[in-house]
Symmetry: C2
Subunit: 237 residues, 2 copies
DNA sequence: CCGATGCTTCGGTGCCCGCCGAAGGATGGC
DNA sequence: GCCATCCTTCGGCGGGCACCGAAGCATCGG
């Protein structure tokens, strides 16, 4: 008569996949959108390879991860954008408490502040860079936030002018808000967010720093962003 | 250096709260947006009151539920719309498999088909009714889905004309998609969805059936919906 | 080929937690 | 005041699962 018959067990199983600190650590790491090897994740999470192997088995069986075997390496990544969205969303709910608790004790502030400046969040840009882009798009009437989160017609034109092709046929929404857990504000995700991120990396507007998901805006990027969206380069530093 | 320091334990704890079939059952039941007593939930979930009491303790401590004590009754409800959204989202991910498995075995089809026709989903309308409203709003240019999910200026005017006041100051988005797990399509949630649902109940467009969250469109409702949005009454039956 | 590397499988251990029933407040009705 | 109802607390039980190390299997490099 109610949801019990079907949804509840599935819901519990899905949540159970995330309800382990080691697996949660993996999922958050994989939010950078890239594929990690099993060994990298094991070292990252601080557990034995054998332990992590079992975790990966569960996550893949549960549909959260996709795997790809190459030689003796097992590469895994988040199965799709929906899963990434899910993890982001859950992590966003956590941030309010965790961030407050974490703030006074931050240690390696260099890497952290680089992350705060700009980073990828699965397949789009986050951090102050992501916010700056979102604000600039909104300020120029290309993106609406007041009545929802959607590109305007002018926004569609802007993407076209810059030379970014948007896949309008995808079932994924063109524009979607993603809560940023350093800035605590939504930034642009969805097809448009992903395309913008890809373009920014392809065109050399920004480059990845080190092996983490932090990104840095290049001098050309500053010029391009200033010209295309009127973003003050100083806001990105 | 990564998310491990702070987010991962919180994420695992949050997911852990949902990762139990009994608790999941409660959360799904509470998606109707109303307050349930501990005893009702215990019977609903099929466990001893003592067991459920502990579950409620966890859920409240974890911030997922809000409680209100009235005499010897303990009423609980979802803490806020964000939590409801979270549970909806997770349940939406589950549906693809669970629904397929469930379809051939449905037993009490009366109650289920009533739910499929129309129901509340936390604080907005879902089921075929919710889809019909969303489609009608979209078809009339009041709601855009192609570039995101947002009310248009005409949509703002429509709400005003119908006499539905929208709280523009809330941090909650005006329009937000919520995945319907009987229809598998997004319907209108957010401030506008909640206001529309409240208005529909207040104005007698529809009434709740029984103690579940199913709703039925009244004859006046059919007239009003036909007039205000051009919805064919037959589509709601 | 042979060793090094990456991953998986398999016991074994220990902890966590969901469950119940019994007993103990607390509240409301009579 | 007394009993019924609702909820909570407390042992105790049982199952599930996260973890490790050792052994085994594939792959890659010399």
């Amino acid at each position: 008569m109610t949801d019990r018959d079907g949804t509840a067990p599935g819901l519990a199983r899905l949540a159970g996949l995330i309800a382990d600190e080691t697996r949660a650590t993996c999922l958050l790491a994989l939010l950078d959108g890239r594929a990690w090897t099993a060994g990298e994740l094991a070292r990252h999470a601080g557990v034995a390879p054998s332990t992590l192997s079992e975790h990966l088995g569960r996550l893949v069986a549960g549909g959260l991860l996709a795997e790809e075997r190459q030689g003796r390496h097992r590469y895994v990544r988040l199965a799709d954008a929906r899963i990434a969205h899910l993890v982001e969303d859950l992590a966003g709910q956590v941030a309010p408490q965790a961030a407050a608790r974490r703030a006074p004790t931050l240690g390696a502030s260099g890497a952290r502040s680089a992350m705060a400046r700009g980073r990828t969040c699965y397949d789009h840009l986050a951090g102050r860079l992501g916010i700056a882009l979102t604000d600039a798009l909104t300020g120029r009437g290309l993106l609406r936030q007041d009545t929802g989160f959607a590109l305007t017609d002018a926004g569609l034109g802007w993407f076209d002018d810059v030379g970014i092709r948007l896949d309008r046929t995808s079932r994924r929404p063109l524009a979607r808000p993603c809560l940023d857990w350093t800035e605590r504000r939504p930034h642009l995700a969805g097809v448009a967010g992903a395309a913008l991120c890809r373009h920014a990396l392809d065109a050399g507007w920004c480059v990845r720093i080190g092996s983490q998901r932090a990104v840095k805006v290049t001098p050309e990027g500053e010029r391009a962003l200033s010209e295309a969206l009127g973003i003050d380069p100083a806001a990105l530093r």
